[in-house]
Amino acid sequence: MITGTAFWYASRATGVVSLILFSLVVVLGVLVNRQGRLPGLPRFAVTGLHRNLSLLAMAFLGIHVFTAIVDGYAHIPWLSAIVPFTSRYERLWIGLGTVAVDLVVAVMATSLLRERLTTSVWRAVHWLSYAAYPVVVVHSISASKDLRSGWLLILTMTTIFTVTTAMAYRILDTRAAVPRPGLVHEKLVRAEQTRRLR
């Protein structure tokens, strides 16, 4: 039998897991955009990992929101799952969480419908991920004291540092992300200088 405190602990735990998973999703997203590789993985696997982890993160986010509302301790109304700043408990910090949920749902929905949308619409909405991430971080640190001490603090700092580095790389690396048509010339010249082609 699940007691009231079980829901509360479940919500806090899934919140932490969601933060970590979404951080990984953002880093992998940057990697996909910059056509980066992960050791031992082909390029399409990086894209696959980015997509599958985002689905997993969505599942944890769903449990996080559901358990927070179902739990009787904080009295968060169902409306707060969608409409920001409608919770009397921690109105601002829970509200930021709702903002993040809305943004992430928009990004996820457009990605699932990607074949039916134009690339420009999908890309424009996908950019919201970069806006959502700081909101997620502020919500995570402010809505609960869990992340402010001990090893969870170290984990949070590591996460924030990694994502910030990735975002900086995304902005500072100005090389075109699209394949360069001239690249094939470089490849041919290199191949012609190789004795044993593989």
Binding site: R43, T118, V178, P179, R180, P181, G182, L183, V184, H185, K187, L188, R190, A191, E192, T194, R195, R196, L197
Partner: protein, 434 residues
Amino acid sequence: MTATTPDAAPSRAGATPTLLPRLLPANGQPMELATHLHVHGPTPYRGGPRMLINTIESAGLTGRGGAAFPTHRKLTAVANAKGVPVVVGNGAEGEPASGKDKLMLWSCPHLILDGLQLEAEAVGAKAIHLYIHREPKLVQRLTAVLAERAASDLDRLAVGLVTAPPRFLAGEESALASRVEGGAALPRFTPPRIFEHGVHGSPTLVQNVETLAQLALIARYGAQWFRLVGTEAEPGSMLTTLQLANGSGGVVETPIGTAITELLRLTEYPAQAVLVGGYHGAWLSSEQARHLTLSNADLRPLGAAVGAGVLAALPPDRCGIIESARVVRYLALESSGQCGPCLNGLPLIAAALTQLANRRSVPTARADLQRWSSLVERRGACHHPDGTVRFLRSALAVFAEEVALHEAGRCSANSYQPFLPIPATAPEHKHDWS
């Protein structure tokens, strides 16, 4: 070599020309507007959308750009698609061995422009573009022709001129759509096919300029007239770019189904092999070619196709592997570098074939080439890897004895002078796609 022409006087307007050439001017001189109107009469508008499509269907006209797709089905698809269609005439073939589109744009532009107007009427289009290579003389000539027609109030819709970069893939449909939108002429992933989602998302009808000219003639002289030449399954005439074994060549208009031996004069100028359909086409041995006609019915069973009508006879003193290696190297360089299999595979294939041609190949070269071919095939957004692989496989099959000689460090050729035309890719063109 130019078209063999009957020494008949130009026919009167309205009279039905029965002999070839139908498309190209009989006297070889570029046909100006006054002559065009005198010979063919005004543009035969039908007065409403779709009315021409039945005539085209009974004529059995197929696309002359290479795919031989039934023209009436393309027209119907675009007419039925959601949105206001755009019509584009494709005169930017990138095939170096073919010269017909450029010749047509130069010598009978008014047939092409009539065809564009008639197609626009048939599918209810509101915009027309003509896509040509950005050669200053050609652009200048067509700008003048369009201005002349505009001044004579002949066209119902204005025709926009769009220029293509000098690339093999610039004439590919999705690359064309991208270029007409103002972007780079790079192929895109399909589906969506451009007849439903092309230029700025509009259903887009892309037709080779020869197809347009044929359509303009069918609209005037009827389906029965069109079927007077050609075969039952593949009616009509087509423009063929020939390269004979003695080095001469040119564009001729010929009925579909003419014997290859006759076109290339193989009894007079023997060849060791015949290239059919251009650089995305296939080699045939001279024994195979001797019994075949220029028709898809004959060529398709052998994995070849009429394509854009290129026929080249390789003289006996040349090396088929050396010639093929030059072509494959050119094709590799013409990859747009967008899809991994093409970007990584074609340079490897080209380098290995060049090593084989230079008699410096590793023992596994032939197996490597076959394996890499299977790896790149059908894995590009466009047909470039497939066409390249088709050409390579036919070369390895037809020149199998020559491959064995090269592996043993020998070569049967007496002349190393390049035979097939390869454009010299200027360095500044390497990154230039717009």
